[in-house]
Symmetry: C2
Subunit: 168 residues, 2 copies
DNA sequence: GGAAATCTACTCGGATACCGCGTGTCCGAGTTATGGTGG
DNA sequence: CCACCATAACTCGGACACGCGGTATCCGAGTAGATTTCC
């Protein structure tokens, strides 16, 4: 399986569609977003609960409620989103092989417990590089990049789909 | 769960202990390695099959057989090992959300199929950064770094453990 | 003493079992506009 | 006209079911050095 859960993908696409044509945030409900993207509604609800808990979006309860971006889309990095959904995930979990070496017969030396495993250090560094790469992109930059590759009618279609759904 | 399987960890530690004091490769059997590290023997066997298939080690069949490094430990990067064990793993698998947008009623436009998803591009870039970070370390450099943090008696202990096991 | 047969310690690959976790679904509770109803 | 009430459309959180893949184990087949046996 892949490292990032499907929730991360859902979250990024969701936040991207919450940016309107002028680059500002727009309020949307989970149901709207789910139907627009063909995502499972209940599952997306949990995704947004996590986004809210991480402070990326804020919720408006009650009828006509929904979510809106809590920060400018230029200040929400992809790293933020990934960490909000998949928190405390590590590329590698060290099983402390050194402490199980047969040369220590049931007496593990202190250095094997205190000093960090070299393998783990290398992996942690790689993970840091990965997250730094993700931190270089924001919801806004991603949205702008997408709009370049798409016909001009596309964002209009979405806006119309939204207004039509809200009226009917 | 973590991205890299436990097999990657086993493989790295195994290859590290196949480097002798002078930095050259030394032949060892899977059973020796498994017992030395307290790793599951059968499972480690499969790990080495993959390492051999990737050309990182070469096998010597028959009695007194085993594995030896197929290249200099300075020319085996951690990236090589990770790819040998966990091949074709991706940080992120794109579910092509764009193609499920409700604004396309059952008629998916060509651009949504041809142009790559922006989200995927960002993730792929992050994955590349991660692997490049891993490629900067080799089995030899990792071994050397480990030896610095360890009492001088440690590598001697391992060598003695080996010779004693082979004689008795 | 030398050749042949047997034994042993390996590498391989397939089949399988276990189990945690990602993914998705269902349900109930709390909140707030909206619309209807009665005085 | 206004107060009140029911309803609908939301957000939230817990519980649970399903299935896949990581981890591990078992077993049989093939290979080759070591050992024994036998002439």
């Amino acid at each position: 399986m892949s490292f990032f859960s499907s929730g991360v993908e859902y979250a990024i696409h969701s936040l991207m569609c919450m940016v309107d044509d002028s680059g500002n945030g727009r309020e949307m409900s989970v149901r709207e977003i789910a139907e627009l993207h063909g995502m499972p509604y209940d599952y997306l609800g949990k995704v947004f609960t996590r986004l809210a808990k991480a402070g990326l979006v804020s919720s408006l309860e009650g009828r006509n409620g929904g979510y809106q971006l809590a920060r400018s889309p230029a200040e929400i990095t992809i790293r933020d989103v990934a960490l909000a959904i998949d928190e405390n995930k590590t590329l590698f979990d060290c099983r402390e092989v050194r402490q199980r070496m047969a040369v220590f017969d049931s007496v593990i030396p202190v250095w094997a417990c205190d000093t960090p495993c070299s393998v783990r250090l290398v992996m942690d560094e790689a993970q840091r590089q990965m997250y730094e790469s993700l931190a270089r992109h924001t919801i806004l930059s991603l949205t702008r990049r997408m709009l370049k590759k798409v016909p001009d009618s596309y964002p209009i279609q979405i806006s119309e789909w939204l207004t039509q759904r809200r009226s009917g």
